[in-house]
């Protein structure tokens, strides 16, 4: 019997079109735009000026405060300007514009292909290196990794959980990474284990990736303390709390962190980035992005430098199909449509899905028929229909009591609703309003 989380979840069509396509390196663009906020937390402070020459891997912005991350140049060239850029939502944020000249890496990066399993750094040095290298959670949430690796006094981490679930339909970047960089990932896992001072690491992979499970299981036997667990396919298994429940049976209580049940979760992509940062001294400036869609002529998995315009990636994948209705940053379940195709690729962009027009249009909204499907699929035991109504009517105190802030925005409710009600849209609105309300109350 395969493991999975007990309550809720849905089974969207998988559509993993690009699962068998190896990772390709995307050619360098003429210029890159590197946003200064590619992580959760305080935006970074630019460390270069207009006209400066930068090398690949050089720090161009430093993290401000604890929950922040360094940002590195992904190319070598001249800083054109530091100006506002439109991010994927169309709103402005600050970014460093660099004109590409050649590809000269900073000398400290070890560019050899040799896999080095011997970890020389101590726990504290690893955490420091993660901060310096700008490592953030590459599953999509982009939470700075050094924060997750720093265990506060009084708490104890017992298990490291590695997320190779990739439960979003279409996306295959983690899948390909596991197949092609398995040993690096597992070395990264042992580095994370050393940083957290744990003896045990559980690697969860959904059963729709049998090749990755076989490959990782074989490799894991050569490492100490690692076990690979195949998991039953169910969305949203890749969510932190659901994965912990599936693998360990421990439930993270409402309002608590995974560390409260002794677990820390990292993505396989993050483990790979940690390996490169610690063993090769290579900061995070490129990542695997899946570009996919039913009408694309050449969908694939590309290793892309951050700051590359999305349009370049679409070009490499065979150009924008005529019937494109929406371009989604992320997977189709949790991703958001982008406002224009010139947005830069950022650390948190795990995939881009080009949805054909007829599939992208939402159905007509009909009245709620009280079928309670949304309640049965909610993995965190909420009542989505009620939360939607409360948010719509502005009854935020009541919404807070109904634990709206526990919602992780997985979208199972909207996916399953037979009346096509925009449940998640309203819950997001209510959630942000409740968070704002609570913050204001705490200030008083």
């Amino acid at each position: 019997m395969l493991k999975t989380f007990p309550k809720g979840g849905v089974h969207p069509p998988e559509n993993k079109i690009t699962a068998d396509i190896p990772i390709e390196y995307l050619p360098l663009p003429e210029s890159v735009t590197i946003p200064l906020s590619q992580h959760i937390g305080t935006p970074s402070i630019p460390a270069v000026n207009k006209g400066d020459s930068v090398k690949t891997g050089q720090v161009i912005a430093t993290g401000k405060g604890f929950v922040s991350a360094n940002i590195h140049s992904s190319v070598s060239g001249k800083v054109n300007r530091i100006d506002v850029v439109l991010d994927s939502t169309g709103y402005k944020q600050m970014a460093v514009f660099i004109n590409v000249e050649g590809d000269e890496w900073i000398s400290t990066i070890d560019r050899s292909k040799v896999i080095n399993r011997d970890i020389k750094l101590s726990s504290e040095e690893i955490i420091k290196r993660c901060f310096e290298s700008g490592i953030v959670g590459l599953g999509g949430a982009t939470f700075p990794s050094h924060v997750k690796l720093t265990v506060p006094s009084g708490k104890k981490c017992e298990i490291l959980i590695i997320n190779g679930v990739e439960c979003e339909p279409y996306l295959t970047s983690d899948h390909r990474l596991m197949l092609e960089k398995g040993e690096e990932i597992l070395t990264g896992v042992s580095i994370l284990m050393k940083a957290l001072k744990v003896e045990k690491a559980l690697i969860g992979i959904e059963n729709n990736k049998p090749d990755a499970i076989a490959h990782m299981t074989k490799l894991a036997s050569t490492f100490k303390g690692m076990t690979v667990y195949p998991l039953k396919v169910k969305y949203p298994q890749g969510a932190e709390k659901q994965l912990i429940k599936a693998l360990t049976g421990r439930e993270v209580p409402s309002g608590h962190l995974p560390l409260d049940v002794g677990a820390v979760v990292h993505n396989v992509g993050t483990a790979f980035a940690v390996y490169e940062a610690v063993q090769k001294n290579k900061p995070l400036f490129e990542r695997v992005v899946t570009i996919t869609g039913k009408s694309l002529s050449k969908p694939g998995n590309y290793m892309v430098r951050t700051g590359t315009p999305l349009s370049r990636l679409i070009e490499a994948a065979g150009g924008l199909p005529d019937d494109t209705g929406k371009i989604i940053n992320g997977g189709p379940m949790m991703g958001k449509a982008v406002a224009n195709i010139d947005v830069p690729v950022v650390k948190g962009m795990s995939g881009v899905v080009l949805v054909p027009r007829e599939e992208s249009v939402r159905n007509e909204i009909k009245p709620c028929i009280r079928c309670a499907k949304c309640i049965s699929v909610c993995p965190v035991n909420l009542e989505p229909y009620l939360l939607m109504t409360l948010s719509e009517k502005g009854l935020f105190e009541r919404a807070e009591k109904e634990r709206i802030t526990d919602c992780m925005e997985c979208g199972c409710c909207s996916f399953t609703c037979p009346a096509s009600r925009p449940l998640l849209d309203y819950i997001r609105l209510g959630k942000s309003s409740v968070i704002k309300m609570v913050r204001e109350r705490n200030l008083k």
Partner: protein, 287 residues
């Protein structure tokens, strides 16, 4: 038979009497004194319970008025000066002078001027659309036309125009309660001082971008060129973040700035048609 009736009447009367005595003492014990003037003032107020005064409803406003030492900061925008004066008479206080205001929309981005660059098919709610992305046009400051203000208006004063996708405010019905001002996620509605014959001159734009991007997104955007600022003789215009603002309290309706604006971002409403140039100047001097 008759004795049963008598016993019933007697026992019930006794019960009623005892209850009445108990209730009388309880009423005495838990008596709450309420200023009778609260009822009087409440009767004056419009009973719209719109919250425009900042209180939960008219009763709370009446209580606040009776309690207050002076009327500073207390106004009923719906009732206006006459209601406040009447309340002041009852309570023996001085009503402050209130300039009546009316809601105006600081955006003129109809599809004709502001081309649609994407299509939004999510929940029809401005707050949701605003939190998701910049909207269907390239202007991240302008009206998204999902009608939150229309739903918030309790006075039927605000309706979405399907042709322009913008709300149209009826000056006669607007009581300037401020419900639409609060609900608009992009803060596009302003309560401006009402002028005679509902005349208005204001910058119908909220775009803080530099001239280039602003103009690219919308033909009638304020580009912050300062032309209006230079032509204004009354210090009524300020430029902040590439956006001009006309102070309604200082504006004398000289009508110089609207013609000066290169993008027609300054709107003049309810004025007689312009006369040939010389006469306009003469009229300004006289009036």
């Amino acid at each position: 038979m008759s004795s049963t009736v008598l016993i019933t009447i007697f026992s019930l009367s006794l019960l009623a009497l005892v209850s009445a005595v108990i209730l009388y003492f309880i009423a005495q014990k838990f008596k709450i004194y309420e200023d009778p003037r609260i009822d009087e003032v409440q009767a004056l107020l419009p009973a719209a319970n719109c919250g425009g005064c900042g209180f939960a409803g008219c009763r709370n406003m009446a209580e606040a008025l009776v309690k207050a030492d002076n009327f500073e900061g207390l106004t009923c925008p719906v009732g206006g000066a006459s209601v406040m004066a009447e309340a002041a008479r009852i309570l023996g206080k001085v009503a402050p002078v209130i300039d009546p205001t009316v809601a105006v929309l600081l955006c003129n981005g109809s599809p004709e001027f502001r081309p649609r660059t994407s299509q939004y098919d999510g929940a029809s709610d401005c707050r949701i659309s605003h939190s998701l992305y910049l909207g269907e046009t390239d202007c991240s400051y302008g009206c998204m036309g999902r009608g939150d203000c229309e739903r918030a208006c309790a006075f039927d004063a605000l309706h979405m125009d399907p042709a322009t996708g913008l709300p149209v405010i009826s000056d006669d019905k607007c009581v300037s309660c401020g419900a639409c001002v609060k609900v608009c996620p992009r803060h596009l509605i302003e309560l401006r001082k009402k002028a005679k014959k509902d005349r208005k001159i204001y910058v119908a734009c909220s775009n803080c971008d530099k001239g280039g991007p602003a103009r690219k997104a919308c033909n009638v955007a304020c580009i912050g060129c300062s032309k209006c600022y230079k032509v204004c003789e009354f210090d009524a215009i300020t430029i902040k973040d590439n956006l001009a603002y006309i102070d309604a309290k200082k504006c004398t309706f000289c009508r110089k700035c609207p013609t000066e604006c290169p993008t027609n971002a300054i709107i003049e409403l309810n004025f007689p048609p312009r006369k040939p140039k010389l006469e306009v100047q003469a009229e300004t001097v006289n009036g």
